[in-house]
């Protein structure tokens, strides 16, 4: 009997190691979610995160669980995280819309200048990583073109290869520059989600100062700087103020 139990344990261990602990927990969470046990599913997902692994799907699912529990802040937080890992995912954007409609704050976005719009449409067309991949591909093209140019003796082929090599080199340099800009952009923004039901945004990082405006759970803010336990934030309509850091959670925390 004892022997049999041991065998089971060994088997279980084997299966765990075969699938990986994270995947097993992920499957369990899916089951729990489908049975409507959202808290249990959240537990499983958080255990996956504790193993040091993550994925955009995991964050998406966490967002769904919190949405089902009417937890506005966490659900928006996890959807935003999912989008950070996998920008442009349609399902995530759709469900994020559902979660955003639960918010209490109505903050209108500050209109952008023409220059800023141009900058955004070019620099943020790809992420920094995507720009980097483009740079690498064009670099390969350039090298290839150069070699062909050097090796071939036919004048037409040589000319063709020369043009390709030059164009590839220009695109490569541009891509690196844009990757750098996009990277800087990404680094400059430190978005966070408000987790408190309601917080007063003050003009100074202390309790005595004047209250400027109030924010509610689920609103996305951008952290500009921090002092002790306070963070200076900027919201979409351009207003700034200080809030206690404990009332926020930073999206880029990995």
């Amino acid at each position: 009997m004892k022997m049999k139990g041991l065998v089971y344990i060994v088997l279980a261990c084997c299966s765990l190691s075969a699938f990986g602990q994270g995947e097993v927990l992920f499957q369990k969470a899916t089951e729990a979610y489908n049975n409507g046990e959202y808290e249990k599913a959240i537990d499983y997902y958080e255990n996956v995160l504790k193993t040091g692994k993550h994925s955009s799907e995991l964050y998406f699912n966490l967002g769904n669980c919190h949405y089902k529990l009417d937890a506005i802040g966490p659900s928006i937080y996890y959807y935003e995280k999912a989008l950070l890992l996998n920008p442009g995912d349609q399902e995530t954007q759709n469900n994020l819309g559902f979660a955003q409609n639960m918010r209490l704050d109505a903050i209108e976005e500050m209109p952008k200048t023409a220059m800023a719009r141009l900058h955004d449409s070019i620099v943020l067309f790809f992420t920094a990583d995507q720009w980097s991949y483009l740079a690498i591909i064009t670099m390969f093209l350039f090298v290839l073109g150069f070699i062909i140019y050097y090796v071939l003796s036919s004048a037409t082929s040589k000319r063709f290869a020369f043009i390709i090599a030059n164009v590839a080199l220009i695109i490569c340099i541009l891509s690196i520059a844009l990757a750098y800009l996009a990277h800087n952009d990404q680094r400059a923004t430190n978005p966070a989600i408000i987790f408190e039901r309601e917080i007063a945004v003050t003009s100074e990082p202390n309790d005595r100062s004047e209250r400027v405006f109030a924010l509610h759970e689920g609103t996305k803010v951008n952290i500009l700087e921090s002092l002790d336990d306070w963070s200076k934030i900027k919201i979409a309509d351009g207003q700034t103020g200080w809030v206690p850091s404990g009332s926020l959670r930073v999206i880029k925390d990995f």
Partner: protein, 597 residues
């Protein structure tokens, strides 16, 4: 006699007012000895006279009157004694009376008189008399006005002397009418303005007479006005007096033919007197942040007419406060609604009754809500705080959390954002469905795995560049190698020439031997190069073979020329110079040919 009783009545009431009920008590018991001073008036004009009487109910000796400072004794002392037996009970009274005339205006004390009764000394209480300026009608009996004055009292009864801020206080104005006069009509002169109060008048429709005691005397009372006040400021607040003009019938001393009293009309202005309320501020300790001034015993709730509906249908949310308290005097809390919902200005709904105990009923705000997109819209709970003056504590009530489920909604649609309602609305269009979780995933390690700027990125970016010098180097190497092969070949050809021509070189002194050796050498060379048999040698064949190998025509002809000169040398004499030239030539041709083969 009547006059006496009325004076006695006045004195009695004055005694009661000054709180000396002891004498009154003594009066009640017949066995006790009394000795007291009676004044006809306490306030008189300088041209009037005052009658002072010292009365006792048992005979005594050594009567010692006080010094009447400020008065001159006009008459007295005059003694009167009366003794009677009624139903076997003896009543005795003896009095000394004086008529006094005031000499100056002012306030005077009539001091103590003493007497010895049964060996003990008794003293009267000193009394104060005020002498005013001369009056028109000295020594006249009391006028109807005076009588009315004494018999009418308007009193403001305040339910609480020190209420809390915003706590209901009732003020009831009561008119006390003594039984010997009658009121025919009244008219309010000055309605009080309740500054710093929120006031509500409770109209009196029927004047009911109630028998009541006022200052120890039986009176009839009528409630004339009732007001509920809510103080709006802390500190000492004054309630202005209410003034009424009252028409009364006052009995006179005269009687008509049948012995009935004759009444005279009099009109009297009475006022209730100022009252000061000491309004206490609400305690600061434990005051909730959302306290908006509500006080009383209150219930609070938020309800919605539906919890699930389709987009663009409407529902009603109702914020209601009910109970007892200052219901009209505070702001209802506003619900916090998700910004994606369209909310219209609330409709105020009030059903409050004001009674003597304050306001009672309910007030509510009705919000009409129209959702634009499908989804779940939680309405967070809101709190409402009030002060309960009974327990003197603040209480906070919380509404229930409500979730509105919007089942169907438009799938297309643009972001709606309007601020026409005074409330900004931002709705994010949502799709046809809320997507299910993803069942498959590819877990990756956490941590910053940004590709740009990583080592891997730089390797991949600059790695290909290494190929350029690599290719250049390889190519150069190959070229060098190619060049080397040429040299080798040249060197080889020279070596061959040397190998083949070495025999010929030895024969340079001997023409016959030289040309034989040279021919042999040329043939050997061709044999080695073209891999052909000696027998096949003929000039034509050599020419075609070499042409097939794409050897230069000139070289071929030179080669043939060499072969011819070898043949020629057999039949004609050859000089040494010629021989040297041919040797040189053959060496050149071989190396040339070797390059081309």
């Amino acid at each position: 006699m009547r006059w006496n009783t009325s004076i006695f009545g006045i004195i009695l009431s004055l005694l009661l007012l000054s709180g000396h009920g002891v004498l009154f008590a003594q009066e009640q018991e017949e066995d006790d000895i009394t000795f007291e001073m009676k004044l006809s008036k306490e306030k008189l004009g300088i041209n009037e006279r005052l009658r002072v009487e010292f009365a006792m109910n048992k005979d005594g000796d050594n009567f010692n009157p006080p010094a009447f400072d400020g008065f001159r004794v006009v008459m007295g002392p005059s003694q009167s004694i009366s003794s009677s037996w009624i139903n076997g009970k003896r009543s005795f009274s003896k009095s000394y009376s004086y008529i006094l005339k005031p000499t100056v205006q002012g306030s005077f004390n009539i001091g103590q008189a003493t007497i010895e009764i049964d060996g003990e000394t008794y003293k009267t209480l000193p009394r104060k008399v005020q002498i005013t300026a001369a009056v028109d009608n000295p020594n006249a009996p009391k006028s109807a006005d005076d009588v009315a004055d004494e018999n009418l009292h308007l009193v403001a009864e305040v339910s609480k002397g020190s209420p809390y801020l915003n706590e209901a206080v009732t003020v009831v104005y009561k008119l006390f009418i003594s039984s010997n006069i009658s009121v025919t009509n009244f008219r309010p002169l000055d309605s009080p303005k309740y500054n710093n109060f929120w006031s509500q008048d409770i109209p009196v429709t029927k004047y009911n007479t109630v028998n009541e005691t006022y200052q120890g005397q039986p009176y009839r009372s009528v409630i004339l006005k009732r007001v509920v006040l809510y103080p709006q400021k802390s500190g000492k607040l004054e309630i202005e007096p209410l003034s009424l003009e009252i028409y009364v019938d006052v009995p006179t001393n005269r009687r008509d033919f049948f012995g009935g009293r004759i009444y005279t009309q009099a009109s009297k202005t009475v006022s209730a007197g100022k009252r000061t309320l000491n309004v206490q501020p609400l305690p600061e300790a434990g005051k909730p942040a959302d306290f908006s001034g509500a006080e009383g015993q209150i219930e609070f709730g938020v309800t919605t007419s539906k919890t699930s509906l389709n987009a663009s249908e409407s529902l009603q949310a109702r914020v209601e406060v009910s109970g007892k308290g200052n219901l009209k005097l505070f702001q209802l809390p506003e619900p916090e609604l998700p910004s994606a919902l369209e909310v219209y200005e609330p409709e105020f709904d009030e059903s409050v009754r004001t009674t003597l105990s304050g306001m009672q009923g309910k007030v509510a705000n009705n919000y009409t809500i129209v959702p634009s997109f499908r989804g779940r819209y939680p309405i967070p709970n809101i709190s409402f705080s009030y002060f309960d003056p009974k327990t003197k504590t603040y209480k906070t009530l919380r509404s229930d959390e409500i979730t509105i489920d919007v089942l169907e909604g438009p799938t297309d649609g643009t972001q709606i954002s309007n601020s026409t309602q005074g409330r900004q609305q931002i709705a994010v269009p949502t799709g046809r469905q809320f997507h299910f979780i993803k069942t498959q995933t590819n877990l990756i390690s956490q941590g910053s795995n940004l590709f740009f700027g990583s080592k891997r990125f730089f390797w991949w970016l600059f790695g290909p560049l290494v190929f350029i010098p690599l290719i250049l180097f390889i190519r150069k190497q190959k070229q060098e190698k190619d060049a080397d092969i040429e040299g080798n070949r040249l060197r080889k050809a020279n070596r061959l020439a040397r190998k083949y021509l070495s025999a010929a070189k030895k024969q340079l002194e001997n023409p016959d031997g030289f040309y034989v050796a040279l021919e042999k050498a040329l043939h050997n060379y061709l044999k080695a190069k073209l891999k052909i048999e000696t027998s096949e040698f003929s000039k034509e064949r050599i020419t075609t073979l070499l042409s097939d190998r794409k050897v230069n025509e000139i070289t071929i002809s030179e080669f043939i020329a060499l072969l011819q000169s070898c043949e020629m040398a057999r039949y004609s004499p050859i000089t040494t110079v010629q021989m040297a030239e041919d040797y040189q030539k053959s060496s050149e041709v071989i190396s040339k040919m070797d390059k081309q083969l």
